[in-house]
């Protein structure tokens, strides 16, 4: 796949620097996916993964049997979480809402394919949303990244209720992410939420393709080992 520059024709350059090169773009990408900026504000509030897994599992099972009421209950409980994922990916509310809509149509039709022994229901649904969002982003790739950033939900304000477990899990994640170096965090996050291919990332970061790939792989291994420990 040819690497397409992203953000090079941004209408609103984030750094106020119209002559963007690889370095300013790197700074731009960091500003989008800055864990240090994002995580501390989230500590101590409900993370979207803290859902009643057993409950969701039953609802999904009911959906696979065609139970519309169960589907609505499922929607009411997880739509806000999937919406936050879609927003994180798309950076625009209208596009994110389309992704949420598409996600639930797919969840309804594919509920029977969920393999409960493999992953948590929410993980499965988040992946559906993320994959649909990435498909859309690849179609919309001509949109300058800075536009997406403008509308991105950078202003996630902490939720009202706080939950100890989530605080702990966020701390654990925060701790594990801190084990990664800056490039590992950036590349993993951008690939995960925005579906950039390794070659697109290499272009953006003005780094050799091999370096980007091994950075992602090493970072993922490190993250996984840390979360499993």
């Amino acid at each position: 796949m040819p690497a397409r520059p992203v953000g090079t024709h941004g209408k609103r350059p984030v750094n106020g620097n119209p002559a963007m090169n690889g370095i300013t773009l790197y700074a731009q990408l960091i500003s989008t996916d800055n864990w240090h900026g994002a995580i501390p504000s989230h500590v101590g509030r409900t993370g979207i993964l803290t859902a009643n897994t057993e409950n969701l599992r039953q609802l999904l099972a009911q959906c696979s049997l065609g139970n519309r009421r169960a589907f609505e209950t499922l929607y009411r409980s997880v739509a806000p979480s999937l919406h936050s994922v879609a927003l994180r990916c798309m950076g625009r509310r209208d596009l994110a809402e389309e992704v949420v809509q598409e996600s639930f149509v797919r969840i309804w039709h594919n509920a029977s394919r969920y393999e409960a022994h493999l992953s948590a229901p929410l993980t499965w649904m988040i992946n559906i949303t993320r994959n649909l969002a990435i498909d859309q982003l690849r179609k919309h790739r001509e949109l300058p990244l800075s536009d997406l950033q403008q509308n991105a939900v950078a202003d996630d304000t902490p939720g009202a209720d706080e939950q100890l477990d989530s605080a702990r899990s966020s701390r654990a994640l925060n701790h594990c992410l801190e084990q990664l170096d800056g490039m590992q965090r950036q590349t993993i996050t951008i690939a995960y939420f925005h579906g950039f291919s390794a070659s697109e990332l290499a272009t953006q970061l003005a780094a050799p393709l091999g370096t980007v790939k091994s950075s992602i792989r090493r970072g993922m291994e490190r993250l996984r080992r840390c979360l499993e420990s």
């Binding site: 409900t46 809509q101 304000t157 994640l173 690939a191 993922m220 499993e228």
Partner: protein
């Protein structure tokens, strides 16, 4: 690609999960996933860890119209019926009412205008000379085989009741083709058993109130 060693499988599943695989390798990997539950488990491990990247996000309320759109997608038979458009509904109703009105009016007119009696008037040699249709308030005259008429003569039509004197119904139009209007009293005369007759009269009709010339054609009125 070698999918056999555990490390290799884990690495490939990781590449797939984060999206590092080029499209062709991706498709191949998806084929392998179908028949390999262990590979699916390996991928699920990665998905679970990577999903924790989404945990710090805060839940975002979803506008109600999204749910409505989802419902309409999964229940197409119920909600894909196009919404009624008031204008067209109104227009259709209006059209139906108009056609009903027209039908009723035409029906009434047709009933009013119905031919009630008919008569074929024959000459002395039993040749049909005229056909007459009696409508409610006029007679329709149609020539069949009418004798040529001198310029100074007229043909006059008479109604002859069963037990009475002939009553003039008026002159046959020139050429024999046309309508003769009927007054109320003339209308009341017409009925079964009444005989119609045509006499040859001076121009303008009989001056005596009774046929003054020879009867050329005659025939009974028949009810339909």
């Amino acid at each position: 690609m070698n999918y056999q060693t555990a490390e290799r499988r884990r690495a490939l599943a990781g590449d797939y999960a984060i999206g590092l695989m080029p499209p062709t390798a991706r498709k191949r990997f998806e084929q392998l996933l179908l028949d390999d539950p262990h590979l699916r488990a390996e991928l699920a491990q990665w998905d679970t860890h990577l999903a924790s990247l989404a945990d710090p996000l805060s839940a975002q309320p979803v506008p109600e119209h999204v749910w409505q759109a989802i419902v309409s997608r999964i229940e197409p038979q119920k909600l894909h019926v196009p919404a009624r458009r008031p204008f067209w509904t109104w227009l259709r109703t209006g059209a139906v009412i108009c056609s009903l009105l027209i039908a009723v009016t035409v029906g009434l007119l047709y009933t009013r205008d119905n031919v009630q009696y008919k008569a074929t008037l024959l000459s002395g040699t039993e040749q049909p000379g005229l056909r007459i249709e009696a409508h409610t308030d006029y007679l329709q005259v149609q020539p069949l085989q009418l004798a040529a008429l001198d310029a100074g003569r007229s043909l006059e039509l008479w109604a002859i009741p069963v037990d009475g004197k002939p009553v003039s119904l008026g002159l046959i139009p020139t050429g024999g083709d046309g309508m003769i209007g009927l007054s109320k009293s003339q209308q009341q005369l017409l009925g079964p058993h009444v005989v119609l007759a045509v006499s040859l009269e001076p121009k303008g009709g009989s001056t005596t109130g009774q046929p003054s010339g020879p009867v050329l054609y005659q025939g009974p009125l028949a009810a339909l």
